[in-house]
């Protein structure tokens, strides 16, 4: 197990290097001289030169990349071009808002998805199965930002039960979490159902039933444990998409998280902040996938992941 984790960590290195190279190139592929973007088009040549010197823009590209990488490892992303604050200072408070939103939404989708998926599988082809799967199909096909707008319209504007915007109080959390978590819930429900059906048809479940065990024990103690394995993978992948998908949800509910920050700074051409945000989300996603792999191995000792 320990060896497996170490090997996985080593395999991450080329991917993470690739990710940093790609993110680094973002800024260099952008048309326009960064010094001009910072100081304005009409800035005097001296100022431009000073800024270029300070940012190291005259160094060879590999040197610039190496410096970028060195700083990024220390979580130093330089200074914003617009506010002159340190990027990490701006980023972290917003990162935690987005992180919170993604975590709550993941919990929501696991909770709803598991219950719906189990009911569906246990009562295959029943009315509840068919309706759950139909709802899941709609949940999967709905643009989540639109769902957010509709929820806001009904529950915040028409009924006035919860505030329409913001983040922090329990009332403010409900709608964004449903908005972001619905697609995940649909995915988890479908996965749970098919995985449960798969497991229920296996020999050892028949044996458990033949032993005369109660159906509830067969389902929850014997079947569910193995049925959950593929669901874990789906949840892990979902979490990453939720971090990225939060951009849309944050925009709908005017939540001051990383998504809103990214959009604002793309428009303001503040690339260090955009770079840092993209890098952070990608790295978190890579590590969540690693955790999924490890838990996969842990849950199912039969699997040989090499």
């Amino acid at each position: 197990m320990f060896q497996f984790i170490v090997r996985r960590l080593l395999q991450l290195i080329p991917v993470l290097l690739g990710v940093t190279i790609l993110v680094f190139s973002l800024m260099h592929l952008t048309p326009g001289n960064p010094a001009h973007i910072i100081a304005g088009e009409s800035a005097p040549a001296d100022t431009i030169k000073q800024i270029e010197e300070r940012l190291g823009l005259n160094d060879p590209i590999p040197v610039q990349y190496f410096n970028f990488l060195k700083d990024a490892i220390m979580l130093d992303f330089g200074n914003s071009w617009r506010t002159s604050l340190e990027v990490s200072e701006e980023l972290w408070p917003k990162f935690w808002v987005t992180f919170e939103l993604a975590v709550y939404s993941t919990i929501f989708s696991i909770f709803i998805g598991l219950i719906a998926g189990i009911i569906s599988a246990v009562r295959q082809y029943s009315f509840s199965d068919v309706s759950i799967m139909l709802v899941a199909l709609f949940g999967l096909s709905m643009p989540n930002f639109w769902l957010g707008l509709m929820l806001m319209q009904w529950f915040a504007i028409n009924l006035g039960w919860v505030p329409a915007t913001g983040w922090g109080t329990p009332q403010q959390v409900v709608l964004p979490v449903i908005t972001l978590g619905t697609m995940g819930a649909a995915v988890v429900a479908r996965m749970t159902r098919s995985s449960m059906l798969d497991v229920i048809s296996q020999d050892y479940i028949r044996t458990a039933r033949a032993k005369g065990l109660k159906e509830s024990i067969v389902i929850y103690r014997h079947a569910l444990k193995n049925a959950l394995i593929p669901v874990v993978t789906v949840v892990g992948l979902q979490f990453g998409s939720l971090l990225a998908g939060a951009v849309l949800t944050e925009s709908v509910f005017a939540i001051n998280g990383m998504g809103k920050l990214v959009i604002d700074r793309i428009l303001a051409r503040d690339f260090p902040v955009v770079q840092a945000a993209v890098l952070v989300i990608a790295v978190v996603f890579v590590f969540v996938n690693l955790l999924v792999d490890i838990s996969y191995k842990f849950l199912n000792k039969r699997i040989d992941l090499d």
């Binding site: 690739g18 504007i157 098919s194 992948l237 709908v252 793309i266 990608a282």
Partner: protein, 303 residues
């Protein structure tokens, strides 16, 4: 599965009949035969055809100019004249949605086409040649896959700027690794089959083997993936437009209509209701088609 069928000895009649078709045509016929057996795939297919027809013909049938403001009916709700009501400029929402359907669909289809073709090529090369080529290409695909959801598209838009063409480019690039992975897997499974070895022994060139013998056999998973990807491409593209990083208003792209309409939700909820429903219908059609197809083509993978 299709490969095994072909290895079986055929009686003379069948052989003559089958020889007339090219491998691609045969593969497509086989595909259609299986498709017809699956009800949900057929429903999804008809829905897609219907939506394509509406997108192609609809704009000629709508009677209102989608750019002409008419402030006398500003924010008016749905009525017999204006089925989906009117927006903040008094433009007919129904006409705009019909025009927008085509734009949104076009972005979904084109980005899947471009990204899919690139991904298929990369996946086949990776799977067929294996070893170092495979290792390098797949590490590169891993890097692209490390950017979840719309993040990669968003990062690309930040360089390219927000426009319809750039959304297509951004979503295409996002499609490449998903297609490459699936095609690589299918190629790996196909290339060691006996009939491919036989072709090699007969001295067929790599290009010939790839295009005449491998590609037709892995067409089914590609079509399934394409259908499911079109669905997520439409969601991503309309999402980008919604946050102002995609197609810009006054274009009636469905996400762009939502982006404009959200500011007036207090006054007129119908502006945001209908375009969203249409996006959902569009995505639903491709999801149902793709799901049904997957079940029809591979009963083992019933998920």
């Amino acid at each position: 599965m299709t490969a095994e069928e072909r290895v079986e000895p055929l009686d003379d009649d069948k052989r003559k009949k089958k020889k007339k078709d090219s491998p691609f045509k045969r593969s497509l016929k086989d595909f259609y035969r299986k498709l017809k057996k699956n009800k949900s795939a057929m429903v999804g297919g008809y829905l897609i055809i219907f939506l394509i027809l509406v997108a192609l013909i609809g704009p000629y049938l709508t009677q209102y100019d989608i750019r002409q403001p008419d402030y006398s009916i500003k924010f008016e709700g749905p009525s017999a004249e204006h089925w989906f009501g009117a927006d903040h400029h008094g433009r007919d929402v129904f006409s705009r949605v019909i025009h927008g359907l085509g734009i949104t669909m076009k972005i979904g289809l084109l980005s899947t086409l471009f990204g899919g073709l690139a991904g298929i090529l990369i996946g086949i090369i990776s799977g067929y040649y294996g070893r170092k080529v495979d290792a390098v290409i797949m590490r590169f695909m891993d890097v692209l896959l490390a950017f979840p959801g719309i993040l990669l598209a968003l990062a690309l838009i930040s360089i390219l700027g927000a426009s319809e063409e750039n959304v297509i480019i951004a979503v295409s690039i996002f499609a490449v690794p998903t297609f490459a992975r699936i095609v690589r897997g299918s190629t790996l499974a196909t290339k060691n089959l006996e009939y491919i070895d036989a072709m090699k022994a007969l001295g067929a060139s790599d290009i010939r083997i790839i295009f005449k013998h491998i590609l037709p056999n892995i067409l089914s998973p590609i079509i399934v993936q394409a259908s499911l990807f079109i669905a997520s491409a439409i969601l991503s593209a309309s999402g980008l437009s919604f946050i102002g990083m995609g197609v810009q208003p006054p274009s009636p792209e469905l996400g762009a209509i939502l982006s404009e309409g959200r500011d007036f939700m207090w006054d007129a909820g119908h502006i945001t209701l209908y375009p969203g429903l249409v996006i959902m219908l569009l995505v639903l059609a491709f999801n149902v088609f793709g799901d049904g197809l997957r079940d029809a083509l591979d009963p083992k993978m019933k998920k």
